[in-house]
Symmetry: C2
Subunit: 207 residues, 2 copies
């Protein structure tokens, strides 16, 4: 068993010359996500992507004329869908589960790729990705948090004035800031702290 694993690992990556169309495209886009997550936007090259996909540079250039186009397609097709907001009839539970889901997607491979890009996205090179990031991540996420708060307001669990963009942005802002600045991994107890110490007092109605 141990031997067969070792020989499998040693076996060189098999590259079929017959891969084409969607299969080859997916391999190339997967290689883009890998590169973004490891060497980042600045280290990503068409050559590196081709090598990662086990194909030639010509096969990449035939489909995408620049690394910008490649990255846009890789993120657009690779990111997990955020679906609907959790709806358990309890704002604390809903926010907690939504945070867990955000964390899960941020630690996925496309999530790593996205974070790497997001952190570079106000530099001169990457400013063109800001709109994409808003469209594929920030706006859907903000909509889910707003849904959770809106339902809680309707149940009388949350004060109506909390349905404001400044309040809705607090969770994404904290997730980004503490992960970036404090190196937080956001384990379950950190998320619970964020909900209980910040969001619950911020949202509760004044008695």
């Amino acid at each position: 068993m141990a031997e067969s694993r070792a020989s499998a690992a040693a076996r060189p990556r098999r590259v079929s010359a017959r891969r084409r169309g969607p299969v080859l495209e997916r391999a190339i886009l997967d290689a883009v996500l890998d590169q973004l997550g490891t060497v980042g936007w600045s280290g990503l090259t068409m050559e590196g992507v081709a090598a990662g996909a086990g194909t030639g540079k010509a096969a990449v250039y035939r489909r995408w004329s620049s690394k910008e186009e490649l990255v846009v397609d890789a993120l657009r097709t690779g990111l997990p869908e955020l679906d609907d907001a959790p709806d358990h009839g309890d704002v604390r539970e809903d926010l907690y589960r939504l945070c867990l889901r955000v964390r899960e997607s941020m630690y996925s491979r496309p999530g790593f790729a996205l974070r790497s890009l997001l952190h570079e996205c106000d530099s001169a090179t990457a400013v063109r990705f800001q709109q994409l990031l808003l469209t594929v991540l920030i706006e859907p996420l903000t909509r889910l948090f707003r849904d959770v708060v809106r339902r809680a307001v309707a149940r009388g669990e949350v004060r109506a004035e909390a349905l404001h963009e400044m309040v809705i942005d607090v969770i994404p802002a904290m997730l980004m800031y503490r992960s970036k600045v404090c190196g937080s991994e956001w384990d379950a107890s950190d998320i619970a702290d964020l909900i209980d110490r910040v969001m619950v007092p911020l949202l509760r109605p004044r008695r």
Copy 2:
């Protein structure tokens, strides 16, 4: 008058061969801040710094052996002191003035330089600056916000449980997130919104 201004502008930058010691060092470190604020960390070169300071590359290399060392010195010596926290006996006023002060320093030239670096600081190249950024910016800032909240708790204006790192981080997190993700310029009314819609409800004692 107009003519003399025009000829002053056209006059080539005068480089005195006699600049040395602290004067030359300051000119070099100023050029580093300029470069960080314009071309960013990735675009900064020893050549560009030398040209910006109106000196030769050798004069730069004589003092600093790498661009890392240059940037560390430029930030350490160039950043404005954050001094003491405002203390007007009113938490809303104190937070508001502290936010204005943070914004002022973030829009200064060393502030632009720092932001440029901060946005790159979890990439492989810039991870070494994270500790510097914590030391020169994040920790002093966090201390000031904590001072404001601590005094307000002592006055009975703020609930005691708000003296928690998660709560203290909300303002810096929001300043970073909305400036980075939403492109917010944080004008005075945005800051007032942040204080009134987020911080006041978050901090006030439960009645």
